[in-house]
């Protein structure tokens, strides 16, 4: 009945219109999965070095991601369909979100290192944590394809849990698979966007 919340969701969804954010998030997921996988599959003499992959590859990607995305949008999106600046959430809200993220990270790490059972449960835990985040994103943006991805990672997490493989290997595969899904979805969206829009004179 009240059109403003729908309109808010519509304008928020505009951020995803070009598929570029999905490509960035997908890259982060894929690199995280592969970097976690590397020490597990690397020969013993270089496994120690493989541990460095995660901070070396991921940190720059996370730190520079926003700038790269902005630069790409400046060249691709803004000249085609326009520029929008969104309301920034208040500081306390951002701080609360950060604290919640750290809390989930610590809880997962605690489970991983302290409980024998948790290692085996890692794929399912990773799948459900990712699914919760993706489900929230889907509701926030009103985008059904995030619900589909959430269902996929939750199901894949459970599948990896039932399969007779190492828990960390399974969790890494879940994260990498979510990344591949997002890269494919982002590429299709970007292709479709470029096909249907042109730079305004």
């Amino acid at each position: 009945m009240n059109p403003v919340p729908d309109l808010s969701q519509r304008t928020r969804r505009y951020w995803m219109i070009d598929g570029l954010p999905e490509l960035l998030i997908g890259s982060i997921f894929l690199f995280t999965g592969l970097a976690q996988l590397a020490p597990l599959v690397a020969p013993a003499n270089i496994a120690g070095w493989a541990n460095l992959l995660l901070p070396l590859v991921l940190l720059p990607l996370i730190l520079l991601g926003r700038r790269i995305l902005h630069a790409l949008k400046m060249r691709i999106t803004y000249p085609r369909t326009g520029y929008v600046a969104y309301h920034q959430p208040p500081r306390w809200q951002r701080a609360l979100g950060g604290l919640a993220g750290i809390g989930v990270g610590i809880a997962l790490a605690n489970l991983t290192f302290n409980a024998q059972l948790a290692a085996a449960m890692m794929p399912a835990l990773t799948g459900f944590t990712l699914a919760a985040g993706l489900g929230y994103l889907g509701a926030y943006l009103g985008m059904r394809r995030f619900y589909a991805l959430a269902a996929f990672v939750a199901a894949l997490g459970l599948l990896m849990y039932w399969m007779p493989i190492d828990g960390f290997l399974g969790a890494s595969l879940v994260i990498a698979a979510a990344g591949v899904w997002m890269l494919i979805a982002g590429s299709v969206t970007l292709y479709h966007y470029l096909q249907h829009t042109q730079i305004e004179a």
Partner: protein
């Protein structure tokens, strides 16, 4: 009933016009948006959008800033505090008015008059 009729007459006509209502409603949901985005979302022509934006700017509801993002020239539009309050007031008034008209199901049934 008299009060609701009075509310109808006091609706902000500047916002009530459909094209301007689209512009203000869009700007209400964001910090700022450029001309191209507004044009695409509202489906208005450049000339039409310019005229409506000028009226809203004149009333102090919208702030228009010509700027650059890198090498890209942008005409950034945003709602002023006055515009934001005016839209909130407009929404409240319209909501009360629509609520006061009642539900469609409450409409009295058309029953034939008793014979004789």
């Amino acid at each position: 009933m008299k009060l609701q009729m009075h509310q109808l007459a006091s609706l902000d006509r500047l916002i009530h016009e459909p094209a301007r209502l689209m512009i203000v409603a869009l700007l209400y949901t964001v910090e700022s948006a450029d001309f191209l985005f507004l044009q695409r979302e509202t489906g208005l022509s450049k000339g039409n959008l310019s005229v409506h934006l000028a009226k809203l700017e004149q009333a102090g509801y919208v702030q228009i800033e010509k700027t650059y993002r890198g090498k890209l020239p942008l005409t950034l539009c945003s709602l002023t505090e006055t515009g934001r309050e005016a839209f909130q007031h407009y929404r409240r008034s319209l909501h009360h008015l629509v609520a006061a008209t009642g539900d469609d199901n409450e409409r009295p049934a058309m029953t034939p008059a008793p014979a004789g």
